[in-house]
Amino acid sequence: MTRVYVSSVIPAPAASVWRRVRDFNGLPEWTPFVAESRIEQGLPSDKVGCIRNFILTDGGTIREQLLALSDYDMSCTYSILESPMGVEDYIAKLSLTPVTDGNVTFAQWQADFDCAPEREQALIDQIGKNVFQAAFNALRQSFGGR
């Protein structure tokens, strides 16, 4: 099992950041790499079990299923059903924690998955830098951070 963990500080209150990221269908709104997204079978995007089907800006298509969503813990867990990345048993969790001193947000994004050993390092870089960190950078900038 391979783990990728990325964390960052978003310069805004956790409730504001959570409003932006809780929408499971909202990736095109706040990440730089998702061109369009829809929820299959017209389900609401906060229905646990729903599947998002999205197209990356580079053209790839990914299907992911919402496994857990908590407005209390401000976290969202999902798995990959189909993707061009070559990962198995991929489960990721995005969570936000308020930082009381300064009223900002500690954001964590973690993924566990299996893959071919020779692909492991490339996937860690791809997911850690180009997906999780890139999304956090965009989120930070959208809240006025640098």
Binding site: Y5, S7, S8, V9, V99, D101, G102, V104, F106, G145
Partner: protein, 516 residues
């Protein structure tokens, strides 16, 4: 059951923070409230089950037991065994997580306990602020300062006992450079030589002259600051002329400065030598290269904000903050008039009100200032404040008038401001750049049920809690991009008289900062 959860981002790598925290006895070296501590029965300080017996600065005695310690998760928990404070059933957990993209550490400190019902609120605040927040910042300062540096009696040198971690020296984040380039001479009594602007009598700019003064060692509750930048504000002109009775000649004017803490007196736990700090408060006396003053209203500057901007923006920014949040809390969609919108406070009011979702009508005196006001986010800019101003506000608001007018012009704008207001509108009169407003009839205010406020800056920053809240609100607004503090005009402190005449004649835009 009461529950406290505090957290902070500490600008030190997780391994360094954890190296200290896993030593259950290390709190004597970093927590500002702890006087002394030892582990009972000579156990190693990372033994699960070990008991630490310690005294606080106020003399009270407590015992706590380590319940769990996890190097993998960077987590420890402990409970209180003996305490003079009624924190019954107190169990606390500390957890660290890395901030992977900056190398900093997220630190969460939480607990549950059963307080007596009538003291719950007080005890929750005590645990949250005096124990957790003060502790987290205390260790951060300890790690940034290193052993024996910048402590001046506040941060003690780590003791050479087994189990005390070697304080990290190499992997420290950069300690902020002390900005004074010349070390001022110290005399035998510990006072420092400094340069200050002294006014011998009330009057025009010519009463200001540069002198050498002695700045005493900080007493209890005081701090001595090497001030690199001094903020100039219109209130300084009022102090100089005697309109405000805040400086009795011979005296040093000025309410605002930023620099580096040189030393602190006893009982000061929120600041340490080497901290970059700023203040914006009475009593006057900031026009100097070194100053000793009460530490209560002095705040630390965030790492990302430079000293010149802090000196330029703290007083004006805090003023804009309380005018828009406390005097008249701005609601989204309200029509707001800001007079003198290119000035120091005016430009911040315009930007911040716009960021809060208000529709801002700015007034200025010429076309160049109009461009500045527009760039600050004003929806509409009006040059002048005559009858055409009132007509324009009426037209823009669909004949309703403005919800609030922020007016620091005073005599020349007062009537127009009243006329521009909507029914139940609010005139916030916080200055008199054009002259004293004089006596006014309040009867006519009933024709529109108007409210008039004359806020006094000092009442909104009266103690450390208020000042900290105002400063944090400001820093957070700047960091989130609500506010941009424009680069100030810098002038050498020798040019103070020229700076005052320009400010009085309205020839300046934005903030002016003296380099001390």
């Amino acid at each position: 059951m009461a529950r406290v959860r505090e957290s902070a981002i500490v600008d030190v790598p997780i391994v360094e923070v954890w190296r200290w925290l896993r030593d259950f006895n290390s709190h004597r070296d970093w927590h500002p409230a702890i006087d002394d501590s030892e582990i009972e029965n000579g156990l190693p300080a990372d033994t699960v089950g070990a008991v630490r017996a310690f005294t606080l600065k106020d003399g009270s005695f407590l015992r706590e037991q380590l319940l769990s310690l996890d190097d993998e998760l960077h987590e420890l928990s402990y409970c209180l065994i003996d305490s003079p404070i009624p924190l019954y059933g107190y169990v606390a957990t500390i957890r660290l997580l890395p901030v992977t993209d900056t190398g900093a550490t997220f630190w969460q400190w939480e607990s549950e306990f059963n307080p007596p019902r009538d003291r719950a609120r007080e005890l929750v605040a005590l645990v949250a602020n005096d124990i957790y927040r003060a502790g987290m910042r205390g260790l951060e300062r300890r790690l940034r300062a290193g052993p024996g540096e910048g402590g001046n009696g506040v941060l003690r040198v780590a003791r050479a006992t087994e189990g005390t971690p070697a304080a990290p020296r190499e992997k420290l984040l950069p300690v902020h450079p002390v900005e004074a380039t010349v070390e001022p001479a110290t005399d035998a009594a510990g006072s420092l030589k400094a340069r200050a602007v002294v006014m011998d009598r009330h009057g025009g700019p010519e009463v200001l002259s540069l002198r050498d003064i002695d700045v005493p060692t900080p007493g209890p509750g005081e701090v001595r600051i090497r001030q690199s930048h001094v903020g100039v504000n219109f209130i300084d002109v009022y102090c100089r002329t005697g309109y405000f009775d805040l400086v009795t000649p011979p005296g040093v004017p000025g309410m605002e400065a930023a620099g580096t803490v040189e030393s602190v007196g006893s009982g000061v736990s929120h600041l340490a030598a080497g901290d970059r700090v700023a203040y914006a408060c009475p009593p006057a006396g900031s026009y100097a290269s070194v100053r000793t003053m009460n530490a209560d209203l002095v705040v630390r500057i965030p790492d990302w904000l430079d000293t010149a901007h802090a000196a330029a923006g703290l007083l004006k920014g805090v003023a804009a903050g309380f005018l828009l949040h406390d005097v008249h809390p701005i609601a989204r969609g309200e029509w707001v008039v800001v007079h003198a919108a290119a000035g120091g406070v005016g430009s911040l009011l315009t930007q911040w009100a716009a960021a809060l979702g208000a529709r801002v009508i700015a007034t200025v005196s010429d076309a160049e200032k109009a461009r500045l006001a527009e760039a600050s986010g004003a929806d509409d800019v009006i040059i002048g404040r005559g009858p055409e101003f009132v007509d324009r506000v009426r037209r823009l608001t669909g004949d309703r008038g403005a919800d609030v007018v922020y007016d620091a012009i005073g005599r020349d704008s007062f009537d127009a401001s009243m006329a521009a207001l909507a029914v139940r509108g609010h005139l916030v009169s916080f200055g008199q750049a054009s002259g004293d407003i004089g006596a006014r009839e309040i009867g006519p205010m009933a024709s529109k049920s108007l409210t008039l406020s004359r806020p006094n800056y000092g009442h909104y920053i009266a103690d450390r809690t208020m000042m900290t809240m105002q400063a944090e609100r400001l820093f957070s607004a700047i960091e989130r991009g609500f506010l941009n503090i424009p680069p100030p005009q810098l002038a050498p402190i020798e040019d103070v008289a020229r700076v005052h005449s320009e400010l009085e004649s309205g020839r300046t835009t934005g903030a002016i900062v003296l380099e001390a």
